[in-house]
C-alpha cells in the first residue's frame, strides 16, 4: 500500500469520486484556476471542466444555498470553504435550509461542505478555528473529522456518497505533516463509526482530528510509565458512535476526552454526558477533558502553544486520572 499525505488522501478522494460519479461537482472560491488555497484541487479544472469545478465570487451563503438547490436536483455538490472559519458566513443556509429539509419534506440533500480547520500554523483568530461543536448541535447534519490519510480518504468518499448533508473538517496542521498507508482500491470509512486506534487497559483517551496524534505521543510516554492508554478516534462527531464510546469507557473505567476546539460547549461535553449517563456504573474516576481554553485562537507562537492541547497536557491529565 502506498504511503500518502493527509492532503493527498483528500485530493484522491475528490478526484476518484468525480471520476466515479458525474453528478459530483466542486464549488468554492479559487478552486479552479488556482487549485484552491491549499492546492487540493489543482488540475481538477483541466480534467473535469468548468461545469464541475466552479469558481465562485466570495459568497459563502450563496455557495451553500446554491449547492442545496443543485443537490435537490440530484447533483452531488462538494463545497470548499477556503478556511473553515468562513463557514460562519453560511451558517443560516446550513442549519435552516440544508439540515432541516429532509425532516420537513422527505427529500435528500446530498451535500458535502469541506474545509481546512484547526490551529498550529500561526493562522490567528480567523484562520484556525475548530467550528465542529456548532454543527454537532444541528439535527439533520452529519459531521466528520478525520485524523489519518486512510480515514481522510475513506470518510470523504463516504461523505460524497451519503444522501445527507455532511460537514467534513480537515485539519490543516496535518495536511503535509502526516503520511499513512492508503490502499489503491476503492474503499470508504463508514460515517458514524469510531475506531480504537490503540488498545490499552488502563485508561481511555477519546479524541479526533489532529489531537489523535498528540494522544499517540502521550500514550507512548505513558506506556513507558506503565500506563496503557486506549485511544478511541471518534472520526464522526455527528452521529456519535455511542457504542464505541461506552465500550472503551466501560473497558478502562477512566476517560480523558481531548479536543483542540475550545472547552465550553464543545464535543467533549457531549461525549462526557454520554459516558456519565451510559457507563456510570463502570467509571473508576472523574471524566477529564483536555481542550483549548475558552478564548479565540491567538496568533503569536507562545500564546498559540499555550492555547493548543498537546501530549504534555494529555500526559498530565492521564497521570492524575490513573492515580485516582
Amino acid at each position: 500500500m502506498p504511503e500518502i499525505t493527509y492532503i493527498e488522501a483528500i485530493r484522491q478522494a475528490l478526484w476518484e469520486e468525480m471520476e466515479r460519479d458525474e453528478r459530483v461537482f466542486l464549488v468554492g472560491e479559487d478552486i479552479g484556476v488556482y487549485g484552491g488555497a491549499f492546492k487540493i484541487t489543482l488540475g481538477f479544472l483541466e480534467k473535469f471542466g468548468e461545469d464541475r469545478v466552479i469558481d465562485t465570487p466570495i459568497a459563502e451563503s450563496a455557495i451553500v444555498g446554491s449547492a442545496v438547490g443543485a443537490a435537490l436536483m440530484g447533483l452531488r455538490p462538494v463545497v470548499e470553504m477556503q478556511f473553515s472559519d468562513f463557514i460562519a458566513c453560511a451558517f443560516d443556509q446550513i442549519v435552516n435550509m440544508a439540515a432541516k429539509f429532509h425532516y420537513r419534506m422527505g427529500n435528500s440533500v446530498p451535500l458535502v461542505i469541506r474545509g481546512p480547520s484547526g490551529g498550529g500554523v500561526h493562522g490567528g483568530p480567523f484562520h484556525s478555528q475548530n467550528p465542529e461543536g456548532w454543527f454537532v448541535h444541528v439535527p439533520g447534519l452529519k459531521v466528520v473529522a478525520p485524523s489519518s490519510p486512510y480515514d481522510a480518504k475513506g470518510l470523504l468518499k463516504a461523505a460524497i456518497r451519503d444522501p445527507d448533508p455532511v460537514i467534513y473538517f480537515e485539519h490543516k496542521y496535518l495536511y503535509r505533516r502526516i503520511k499513512g498507508k492508503v490502499p489503491d482500491e476503492d474503499f470508504t470509512v463508514p460515517i458514524g463509526k469510531a475506531e480504537v486506534k490503540r488498545e490499552g487497559a488502563d485508561l481511555s483517551v477519546i479524541t479526533y482530528g489532529a489531537m489523535v496524534h498528540q494522544a499517540f505521543e502521550a500514550a507512548n510516554r505513558l506506556s513507558a510509565k506503565g500506563i496503557e492508554v486506549e485511544i478511541l478516534d471518534l472520526r464522526t462527531l455527528l452521529p456519535l458512535d455511542r457504542e464505541a464510546i461506552l465500550g472503551t469507557a466501560r473497558k478502562t473505567g477512566k476517560v480523558v476526552i481531548v479536543h483542540e476546539a475550545t472547552r465550553t460547549g464543545g464535543v467533549g461535553g457531549e461525549v462526557a454526558a454520554i459516558i456519565a449517563e451510559g457507563a456510570f456504573d463502570r467509571l473508576d474516576g472523574p471524566i477529564l477533558r483536555v481542550t483549548a481554553p475558552d478564548t479565540p485562537v491567538p496568533f503569536t507562537a507562545p500564546l498559540e502553544e499555550a492555547f493548543l492541547p498537546n501530549a504534555d497536557k494529555i500526559v498530565a491529565a492521564a497521570q492524575r486520572l490513573a492515580a485516582y
Partner: protein, 323 residues
C-alpha cells in the same frame, strides 16, 4: 382570439387559478378564525397575479422556489388545495406531513422547492437549481419569488450575483407589495424600484404592473425565454400591494387606509374579470360555473383535509436523515 399569446382556454385557466388562490386563502382565513389553524397565515389577497402570472410562463420541466405569498404558483405546479389545507391543519395529508406548517411546503417531484422562513434564503437555492438545470442542457429554467423586504438580505445579493456570474437560467420575481410586515418600502430601501438593482448585477431588470396578470405573465415569459436561450438570469419587479395584515393576526393599522383604497380599485381579479368579459371570454354563466365548481372543490378539499389523520407523537424522531 389571442391575448398576450394565450388561448381562450389558457386565459380562463389563468382566471381560474387567480380565483382558486383567493378562495382557498379565504377558506384558510376562516379556518384560522375558527381556531382550527395555528400559527402564521400569510395570504396573497390582492396580489395573486404576481404568483399566478409569473408561474404561468413556465413549462412542465421548470422548477419553482416560491416564497410565502405564492399559493398561486404552487397551485399551477399541481399542488392540490386539499394538500395545502392538510398542511395548514398539521395533518399527514399535508405536504410536510405535519412536520412543518402553513406556507412552508412544496414538492420536488412536482418541481416545487419548499419555502423556509428566513427571507431570501430561496434565492441562492434557485440559483443552484438553475445551475443543475443548465448542466442538463434541456432549456429548463428555475423561477423564484421574494418580497421587497427580502431584497434587503445578504442572500438576495449573493444569490443573484452568483447567478449572474454563472449565467444560469433563473428568473427572480420580486413581489413588491410595499410592506414588509410593518415596514414600508421607504424604510426598506432608498430606491423606489427594486428592479434598479439589476444593473448592479449585469442582468436584465423589468418592472411589471403586479396587479395585471397578463403584464406579469408577459414580463415573466420574456425572462423565461431569455433564460432558455442561455442568456442568464433576469429580475422582474412586480408592483403590488399587500391588502391584508402581514399575517392574519395583524390588523395592519400602520397602513394608510387611503393607500389600501387606491389599490382595492386595482384588484387583480376584478380587473382581469372585466377584461375577460370585454373580450367575451367570460360571461355570467361561465363565471357562475367556475364559482360553483370551486366552492364544491374546496368543500371536498376541506373535508378531505379534516379527515386526514394527525401524525403520531411516537414518530417524532423519524425522518431527520435519509436512511
Amino acid at each position: 382570439m389571442n391575448h398576450s399569446g394565450l388561448t381562450r382556454d389558457q386565459l380562463l385557466d389563468v382566471y381560474y387559478h387567480l380565483r382558486l388562490t383567493r378562495s382557498l386563502e379565504e377558506r384558510i382565513g376562516i379556518l384560522y378564525r375558527q381556531g382550527k389553524i395555528f400559527g402564521g397565515v400569510y395570504l396573497s389577497t390582492g396580489q395573486e397575479a404576481v404568483s399566478v402570472g409569473a408561474a404561468y410562463a413556465l413549462g412542465p420541466g421548470d422548477i419553482i422556489v416560491p416564497s410565502h405569498r405564492d399559493m398561486g404558483a404552487h397551485l399551477l405546479r399541481g399542488i392540490q388545495p386539499r394538500e395545502i389545507l392538510a398542511q395548514y391543519l398539521g395533518r399527514l395529508g399535508g405536504l410536510s406531513r405535519g412536520r412543518d406548517g402553513n406556507v412552508h411546503y412544496g414538492d420536488i417531484q412536482r418541481g416545487d422547492v419548499a419555502f423556509i422562513s428566513p427571507m431570501a434564503d430561496g434565492i441562492p437555492v434557485a440559483t443552484g437549481v438553475a445551475l443543475a438545470l443548465k448542466r442538463q442542457g434541456k432549456g429548463r429554467v428555475a423561477m423564484t419569488w421574494f418580497g421587497d423586504g427580502a431584497s434587503s438580505r445578504g442572500d438576495f445579493h449573493e444569490g443573484i450575483n452568483l447567478a449572474a456570474v454563472l449565467r444560469v437560467p433563473v428568473v427572480f420575481v420580486c413581489n413588491n407589495n410595499q410592506y414588509a410586515y410593518s415596514t414600508p418600502l421607504s424604510r426598506q430601501t432608498r430606491v423606489p424600484d427594486i428592479a434598479a438593482r439589476a444593473g448592479g448585477y449585469g442582468i436584465a431588470g423589468t418592472i411589471a404592473e403586479g396587479n395585471d396578470v397578463l403584464a406579469v405573465y408577459e414580463a415573466a415569459k420574456e425572462a423565461v425565454e431569455r433564460a432558455r436561450r442561455g442568456e442568464g438570469p433576469s429580475l422582474i419587479e412586480c408592483k403590488t400591494m399587500r391588502m391584508r395584515g402581514h399575517s392574519e393576526h395583524d390588523d395592519a393599522s400602520y397602513v394608510p387606509r387611503q393607500l389600501l383604497e387606491e389599490w382595492r380599485a386595482k384588484d387583480p381579479i376584478q380587473g382581469f374579470e372585466a377584461r375577460l368579459r370585454e373580450w367575451r371570454i367570460l360571461d355570467e354563466s361561465e363565471e357562475a360555473r367556475i364559482t360553483k365548481r370551486m366552492a364544491e372543490e374546496l368543500e371536498a378539499a376541506v373535508a378531505w383535509a379534516e379527515a386526514s389523520p394527525f401524525p403520531e407523537g411516537k414518530d417524532v424522531e423519524q425522518g431527520v436523515y435519509s436512511t
